[in-house]
């Protein structure tokens, strides 16, 4: 390991914070919009779909794709910042 212990700890805790942020979005979109609050959202029409139905069957998937790529970008930046990239 080329970096100091403190650096490694700081890297890890920033990493955890990034993961928690993205997982929070992941949870709200899939379990929130797609399952728990569907009935309220279904009252809203979205391009011909009841909004809750759209989140459950399509919208959440688009958000998942966006989340992974945003995570990739965040981590690449973090790796550079702590000079642990390859």
């Amino acid at each position: 390991m080329s970096i100091s212990n403190d650096q490694a700890q700081a890297y890890w805790s920033e990493n955890l914070r990034i993961i928690m942020t993205y997982l929070a979005i992941w949870f709200v979109v899939s379990y929130g919009c797609g399952i728990l609050f569907v009935e309220q959202l279904d009252a809203i029409q979205f391009f011909g779909f009841p909004l809750g139905f759209w989140f459950g069957q399509q919208g959440s998937i688009f958000v998942f794709v966006g989340l992974i790529w945003a995570y990739v970008a965040s981590m690449n930046k973090l790796d550079e910042k702590y000079d642990v990239h390859e």
Binding site: S30, F47, G56, I61, F64, L67, D79
Partner: protein
């Protein structure tokens, strides 16, 4: 050109391509056999992962399932895609950094215990076998319909093809074959979806087509709701399952996806940690192309099916006037008609037309007065609830035919139908090959090399891997020819086990340094045993739905098993000594991306 000739051409041509790639990319060393030498570019790995992941279930069954259950299908759509977020964020980069070949490798080394390794091997083998059985069946169904051979011959042909490239090529051959298979299967899924969507809604993309407004002035979804309710079915956009059941099912499918060994192992094949993250992103894009088309295909297929069978006047169609696809699928045994009111018309509505579980027809060899196939379990009475529907249901439609029959129902050109057949075969074969590889690796590497006899040479290990692949193919073929009674439940079991046993063990191995052998073993056994017992009781042991724990169906119980796993593991670990220093150092090390190098040879 006739449909038969085109189908032979498409399927034959795709097989020639797969075999050609297998010969070009055959494996020479164990490292090439297990992880393709660790040098697969992320985009290619993303495609291979997508093909590996999207099985006959995704290609053939998912749209059919949603077509029939509507809103509740969300659990599968979200569950089977949302798992990739967990993979990318929680597992893939760290496992790549760890740099071994298999899931049992990680569990065994991280928990410094061959008991833990052996439990992981058992989980891997059970999960992969339950999963592969369904694939071989899928190949059989497609061959029997399009090549006019019986299902068993179809399974044997599929076995021979998989044998050729999995045994020869190992991971390297499989990866590049899967890239080709992804291209075939995604074309085969999206081309008819575009056609269908354009035909019904005027939108080319099924993603927006499902929200379109039809000539009648009603939206597609409102039309579906009305058609369904007029015939006594539940409203398409309303859920039937309880919220808690859907919630638990979705968690089980997501965490199960992230814990499936044949998916995880794909992330060992890329050169760097960074590439592991990127290839999860690519994989999900490639998967999303299919998954976001599925709701459209399901909806359009449902409208087409109802309108074709019941006719423009919604009163049914004379059997003699039914299109040829109806009779083809009837001959394949996946459609059946029971003329309950004796009017010679085929009528489709809610309710079963045949006795017994699932309303499945048992065909006899005889033909009726309209030349329809007769069954031994047709419901004789023509009673129905006149308050709910206009006539009694006379039709059995197997959910699995929706995707395959869709192009025929919509009268698309023959080459589209042939393409769909080739795509279905590609989907089933790519997944089967990935699973067989995981099984053979678990046996040759984790069991022979790491547990039983560490002294075998690389060459011997490779020979064991190929032998194990051959045995695994034969067993998978046996399950394909004699499928276990409840294929859907068996697949649910695979996800439940992955969710309750593999996923938590790996996550804690990375994120909780204090987790030790005792905690991991206790946790894995708790997750494994509780999930198996619960499913066993409700699927085979005669349990009834009103006995469900908190209303959770067996498919969602993996989530409960996972929670138990975490709790038991924490409690046991806190009462036993912490793991040795060198293990804690390993955990520190796998959290830092730099220095992943190539997959370690042992």
């Amino acid at each position: 050109m006739s449909l038969d000739l085109l189908t032979y051409l498409f399927i034959g041509g795709s097989f020639a391509l797969y075999i050609g790639i297998a010969i070009w990319a055959r494996a020479g060393s164990t490292k090439e056999f297990y992880v393709a030498g660790g040098g697969v570019p992320p985009v290619a790995n993303g495609m291979a992962t997508a093909a590996d992941w999207m099985s006959a279930a995704s290609f053939i069954s998912l749209a059919g399932l949603i077509s029939f259950i509507g809103r509740d299908g969300s659990a599968y759509l979200m569950g089977w895609t949302g798992g990739y977020v967990l993979l990318a964020l929680l597992l893939a980069p760290y496992l790549r950094k760890f740099g071994k070949f298999t899931v049992p490798d990680f569990v065994g080394d991280r928990y410094y215990s061959s008991t833990a390794r052996t439990i992981a091997v058992v989980c891997t083998i059970v999960i992969s076998f339950t999963y592969v059985a369904g694939q071989m069946r899928g190949v059989g169904i497609v061959f029997s319909r399009y090549l006019h051979v019986d299902i068993n011959t179809g399974v044997v042909i599929g076995m021979a093809i998989v044998f050729f490239y999995a045994v020869l090529g190992g991971m390297k051959g499989i990866t590049y074959t899967q890239v080709a298979q992804y291209c075939v299967l995604i074309l085969a899924f999206t081309v008819p979806a575009f056609f269908l969507s354009a035909q019904i809604t005027g939108h080319i993309l099924p993603q927006t087509g499902l929200g379109a407004t039809l000539e009648s002035g009603q939206s597609v979804l409102a039309t579906l709701d009305k058609l369904s309710m007029d015939l006594g079915f539940a409203q398409y956009t309303a859920g039937k399952k309880s919220t808690i059941d859907i919630f638990f099912l979705t968690v089980a499918l997501m965490c199960g996806t992230a814990g499936l060994p044949h998916v995880i192992v794909r992330f060992f094949t890329v050169p760097r940690v960074k590439d592991a993250r990127t290839s999860a992103g690519w994989a999900l894009i490639f998967i999303a192309i299919l998954y976001t088309s599925v709701p459209g295909v399901a909806g359009f297929g449902r409208v087409n099916l109802i309108q074709t069978i019941n006719g423009a006047d919604n009163a049914g169609t004379e059997y003699s006037q039914m299109p040829v696809w109806f009779k083809n699928w009837e001959n394949a045994g996946l459609l059946a008609w029971n003329d309950r009111n004796g009017d010679g018309k085929v009528q489709y509505a809610a309710g079963a037309a045949f006795e017994g579980k699932g309303g499945k027809p048992s065909f006899t060899d005889e033909r009726g007065e309209n030349n329809q196939r007769l069954t031994s379990n047709a419901i004789a009475s023509a009673d129905f609830d006149a308050g709910k529907q206009p006539f009694a249901n006379e039709v059995y439609v197997d959910r699995d035919i929706m995707v395959l029959a869709n192009p025929e129902i919509a009268q698309l050109p023959n080459w589209v139908i042939a393409l769909v057949a080739a795509g279905a075969v590609a989907a089933a074969l790519s997944t089967a090959a990935g699973l067989l590889l995981v099984i053979s690796t678990a046996i040759s590497h984790d069991l022979m090399k790491k547990t039983i006899n560490p002294n075998i040479t690389d060459k011997q290990e490779l020979m064991y891997a190929r032998l194990a692949a051959i045995v695994a193919i034969c067993i998978a073929g046996y399950f394909g020819i004699n499928p276990p009674g409840f294929v859907a439940q068996v697949v649910a079991l695979a996800f439940g086990l992955a969710c309750a046993s593999v996923f938590p063990a790996i996550v804690m191995g990375i994120f909780y340094k204090r987790m030790n052998t005792q905690g991991a073993i206790a946790g894995m056994l708790t997750g494994l045993v509780s999930t198996v017992l619960y499913m066993w009781y409700f699927v085979w042991g005669g349990g009834t739905p009103d006995e469900y724990f908190m209303g959770i169906s067996p498919g969602g119980f993996g989530t409960v098993g996972m929670i138990l796993h975490f709790v038991v593991a924490f409690v046991v670990a806190s009462m036993t000594p912490e793991p040795p220093k060198e293990i804690q150092d390993i955990v520190e090390d796998l959290r830092i991306p730099r220095g992943a190098g190539t997959a370690h040879a042992h």
